[in-house]
């Protein structure tokens, strides 16, 4: 006699997922088979093997699973809250007064930072205490946070502003600026100055710059010859000493 798939599965104490994992039949298909869809012959053998039954013992088309779950009982109706006396809504009632936790004191780091800012501003701690209304040590966490913002704002306001259209002073790192050499080459090219280039092997070339890139410089020598110098082969270059003297 054949049985429904879901019956055999439950008999073995397996969930659909477990059956799917063991048999290799997708859980989605098992759900469909248990709902009444005919079981594919290929899947039937796999399922029978896992359920330790013969293929013929599984109904090709299962009956739908009976709904055994009883309807959940309705939650009991909440008793209506007692009518609040008018006086109870007043915040003055001691019974309903919430006990607030004591304010969190300022963190050590906050105070350290605060003192650092005061030092930057050249302010005495006692003078600030008068402004705050209490000693710095007694500030709460939130008060310290507010005062840190306030003092930081004052420092920013006191900072001298960089003139417009000027570059920020660059730090030692990172070395990503290559404008100085480019500016110098541009100026020499525009002025048509004669520049002398000395290579690593001490060979020299003189001429006016007619073009350059980060990797090479092209010059026109006195006889009209155009020469491109690879920067990797270059040691140094300069304008002729006469030009320097004139400039001086």
């Amino acid at each position: 006699m054949s049985s429904n798939l879901w019956e055999l599965r439950k008999k073995r104490g397996m969930t659909v997922k477990q059956l799917a994992a063991k048999s290799g039949v997708p859980a989605k298909s098992i759900y469909a088979y248990e709902a009444g869809e005919p079981i594919k012959i290929a899947d039937l053998g796999k399922l029978a093997k896992v359920l330790y039954v013969d293929k013929t013992e599984i109904k090709i088309q299962s009956d739908p699973v009976p709904k055994t779950k009883p309807e959940p009982p309705k939650p009991p109706a909440k008793p209506a809250p007692p009518a609040k006396p008018e006086a109870a809504s007043s915040s003055t009632s001691p019974a309903r007064e919430k006990k607030l936790p004591p304010p969190r004191p300022a963190a050590e780091g906050q105070l350290h930072h605060l003192r650092g800012l005061l030092e930057k501003l050249g302010m005495e701690e006692t003078a600030v205490a008068a402004e705050i209304g209490k000693p710095v040590n007694e500030l709460t966490f939130l008060e310290a946070r507010t005062w840190l913002k306030t003092l930081d704002g004052r420092i920013q306001a006191e900072k001298p502003q960089r003139p417009p259209n000027t570059r920020r002073w660059r730090a030692t790192q990172p070395e990503i600026v290559d404008e100085f050499e480019a500016n110098y080459l541009q100026a020499r090219q525009e002025a048509k100055d004669v520049v002398t280039f000395t290579l690593l092997n001490e060979t020299t070339f003189s001429g006016i710059i007619i073009g350059f890139s980060p990797y090479n410089i092209t010059i026109q020598q006195a006889d009209g010859t155009e020469t491109t110098i690879q920067k990797l082969a270059l040691a140094y270059y300069a304008t002729s000493p006469e030009l320097a003297k004139e400039a001086a």
Binding site: Q173, F180, E181, Y184, L200, E202, A233, Y236, Y237, K245
Partner: protein
């Protein structure tokens, strides 16, 4: 001259071998380490790689180590300090020539120094082989 610049110089001297070929010759799967060794501003920490590169280029290991102790970053420190203090800088080039003057500027590929005649010399960083206190004064942080 830093090891990075020296390696580029050696590779150029050899005819511009591709880093992939060098990596293969060194028994490396990728050319990343070879590329980085040629580009980084700080000393190459991989001593085994330095040794392999010395063998590949047929140079004494001491030569590469000497260059490795003079990375580009230390030259930057030297010039940056000279710019602040207006001290005279002396740069020794690969040819052995020494150039002195006051630092005017520095950038990615070159250093500008003004000699005693007021002439601006634009010295390529890769041509600078040594400078006072090159390998001793600076701490790599």
């Amino acid at each position: 001259m830093s090891l990075s610049d020296h390696l580029r110089y050696l590779r150029a001297q050899q005819g511009g071998t591709h880093p992939v070929e060098i990596a293969q010759a060194l028994g490396l799967g990728k050319p990343t380490a070879v590329n980085l060794a040629e580009k980084q501003y700080r000393p190459v920490r991989d001593e085994e790689l330095v040794e392999k590169l010395a063998q590949y280029y047929g140079r004494p290991l001491e030569e590469l180590q000497w260059h490795n102790a003079r990375p580009r970053k230390y030259l930057t420190f030297y010039i940056a300090r000279a710019l602040k203090t207006s001290e005279l800088v002396t740069l020794t080039l690969r040819s052995g020539q020494q150039l002195s003057g006051k630092a005017a500027w520095w950038d990615l590929s070159s250093v500008g120094i003004r000699d005693e005649n007021g002439r601006l010399l634009v010295i390529q960083r890769h041509a600078v082989i040594d400078w006072p206190g090159a390998a001793t004064e600076w701490e790599d942080t």
